[in-house]
Symmetry: C2
């Protein structure tokens, strides 16, 4: 059954939310809503108002995640709910869609289901996760990681911002350190709508992406330690040039990903995004270079090959050049598979709505990657104009927002009936 969402109602919600934390932007519409700031409190307050106005019962958990619950008359209140949502926090000077589209889109989907003849047998929940961006407290997907049992509550609450304030203190300050339980493991399914933040849908001319897998991400810190020395007085055969060593590594990381792509693993990417050279003076042989890697793939084995390749490169360089190399795996998030039945529900909803869809992978992480550890999930994408995100120029047409929300609503209705 097709669910008819209200484009203008959704737009009004997103625009009103977009004025909270709004910042001046030469082009586009920017907002800065860092976790547990006053702007975040306003955004949360308004979201809860809108949930309640739609007849949902709201609750807040100890890490500040919020959920609104609707138990249809047709439903068993004890049945496992179908939940959907995203996040309300932003990066500094971010756009108005990244996060809010999924939170307000889920609310609009529930409103639309409620206004439709559909008779869900499961409760529906609309959720907004705390600190998805990880800007203020240094780690993204924080609220969903606690709710999904990936990270202990205490560790999350003890995280500090640049001024030494803890997340726990700041949540209490804005009135969002709750006591309720939000437990994804108790859900029948989880759906998240998000802007793509890439150009796959735009280039394909397709309004909705149905994500089948979220790429895993490995980040490593790699330090090349040579010896800073006079660029003139140090003969070529006596130098311990940390930058020349690091340059080989950069090219090896690139080559490693290219080889996987050529072998058919199209999602494989490998990047050295940051490189800090010391002393970084034009007449001094670089003595130390700190580099970071970002390697991703949807297949755990391929991701492991990428990481091992980078480590082998570092070891080879340390053998062949007079530098010491430290290789620190500081983060590994395994790839997440979306559940076939959730993907099928989304595909069916798109078909019923007469909308083209593209099955694709997500290169970026989303809260859904945490939730997928404990229940069946699917992630939906709406097109991003020029792929721009984390920027006031981030934009998704209102018609695209509505169409993606139609698919979300249809899939939720399907999974809840």
């Amino acid at each position: 059954m097709e669910i008819d969402v209200d484009t203008e109602r959704l737009r009004a919600d997103l625009e009103a939310n977009g004025h909270i934390g709004e910042v001046e932007a030469e082009v586009g519409w920017g907002r800065t809503v860092l976790t547990a700031t006053d702007a975040d409190r306003q955004a949360r307050d308004r979201f809860l108002d809108r949930l309640e106005a739609a007849g949902l019962t709201v609750r807040v958990d100890p890490v500040g995640n919020v959920a609104g619950r609707w138990v249809p008359e047709s439903a068993d209140p004890d049945a496992a709910p179908v939940a959907a949502g995203s996040h309300l926090d932003s990066v500094p000077e971010g756009g108005i869609f990244d996060g809010p589209l999924g939170a307000y889109g889920a609310l609009e989907a529930v409103r639309a289901i409620r206004e439709s003849p559909v008779e869900p047998v499961r409760p529906l929940e609309v959720v907004s996760w705390t600190e998805e961006e990880g800007v203020r407290f240094g780690t993204g997907l924080l609220g969903s990681s606690v709710a999904s049992g990936v990270r202990p509550l205490e560790a999350a609450l003890a995280r500090t911002d640049g001024d030494g304030n803890t997340l726990g203190e700041e949540l209490a300050r804005i009135g969002y350190r709750g006591e309720a339980t939000i437990d994804p493991a108790s859900w029948a399914a989880w759906l998240e709508l998000h802007v793509e933040q890439g150009t796959v849908l735009e280039r394909a001319g397709v309004p909705v992406g149905v994500v089948t897998a979220i790429a895993g991400i490995a980040n490593c810190d790699v330090t090349f330690e040579g010896e800073a020395n006079h660029a003139g007085a140090t003969p070529m055969d006596e130098r311990r040039d940390a930058l020349a060593a690091a340059s080989e590594f950069v090219l090896d990381v690139e080559r490693g990903a290219r080889e996987r792509v050529e072998a058919g693993h199209e999602a494989a990417v490998g990047t050295v995004g940051s490189l800090d050279v010391s002393p970084n003076a034009n007449n001094v042989v670089p003595g130390r270079v700190e580099a970071t890697t970002d390697q991703r793939d949807v297949d755990p084995e391929v991701l492991r090959e990428l990481i091992d390749g980078a480590e082998a490169s570092a070891e080879r360089i340390a053998e062949e050049r007079p530098v010491a190399v430290e290789f620190d795996h500081y983060r590994l998030t395994e790839p997440s598979r979306m559940a076939d039945r959730c993907v099928a529900a989304a595909a069916g909803a798109a078909e019923r709505a007469g909308l083209g869809r593209l099955e694709m992978h997500s290169a970026g992480l989303h809260d859904t990657a945490n939730v997928a550890n404990v229940t069946d999930t699917v992630l939906l994408f709406a097109p991003s104009e020029d792929g721009v995100s984390h920027n006031p120029r981030e934009w998704t047409d209102w018609a695209d927002c509505a169409n993606a929300t139609r698919v979300l609503a249809g899939a939720m209705a399907d999974l809840a009936t």
Copy 2:
């Protein structure tokens, strides 16, 4: 004839000078004497006092270079003088030998000649150049470049420090914007004693280096412009990674110099010393990289090959990768040959003093490179402990200071008789 310098007198001068601008150092003896600061005024005042105490007549030119002149009774006052010296300014927290050894060494050499039976037929001059280090006013070898006609006086005086003060104003403020002429073209020869700032002498166990050529230096700014993009969402075949491009360049610059060394040009070096990556975030494909090159050789042709090789590498990379490359030759200082007769005078003086010597090249620039454009020159090196310089740990044994000064004095006496 051997000239007997007074080790203790030289040491007292260098130590007294070392207390001017002295800074606390955990190890060693640090000083900060930036050009035309109050510390520089004190250092200059004391130097002039010592020149006058030794019977020299002092003068200051419009860019603040100072000279003391002694006309021996045996000399023709109109004969072309033999001059020697170095500089008194330092880098921030530099050592006490880099510069002062050559300035006070030249004074000690003149005092020693004066006390010896040598009867010079030429006047002797002791010189200290302004702003050798280039720290405060952004360009090194400044005073000698004006005196040697390499740079117009007005351009030098108009240079500004970080606060917008001009060199001209600051020289006037400290009382060192003179009106006299110091013209290296009028000299019969110029000699400079300097600390090696490298480990060649130390490793060879030789107390004096006689430099036969000063390497030329080419510096280029190279900018790689790609496109910053999401490290996850940008497939490998669509990225324009400026850092991967720059990494190829770094390795090509290194390879270029290594190949010249293998071909017998031992002095050839090539370094990318600084590399600035934008936006330098671990999850963003680098969009822009700015690199600098430092390439050196004593042979103008080899230096040209090194530069051309770097430029060809940049062009190849721009052809093979979707990046734009800008290559800016911003500085080229040609190699300088020392005059055979000056090298021979130094070699003879070392032999007469019973001191081992090493003929070598200088990888670093010195004021002598400017003076060599207009008269015959030689540069002498004293050993640097562990090659350390521009650091409070810079050290040269007092005996080594005195021995190198003996060679300087002997060579000056030879060239002046």
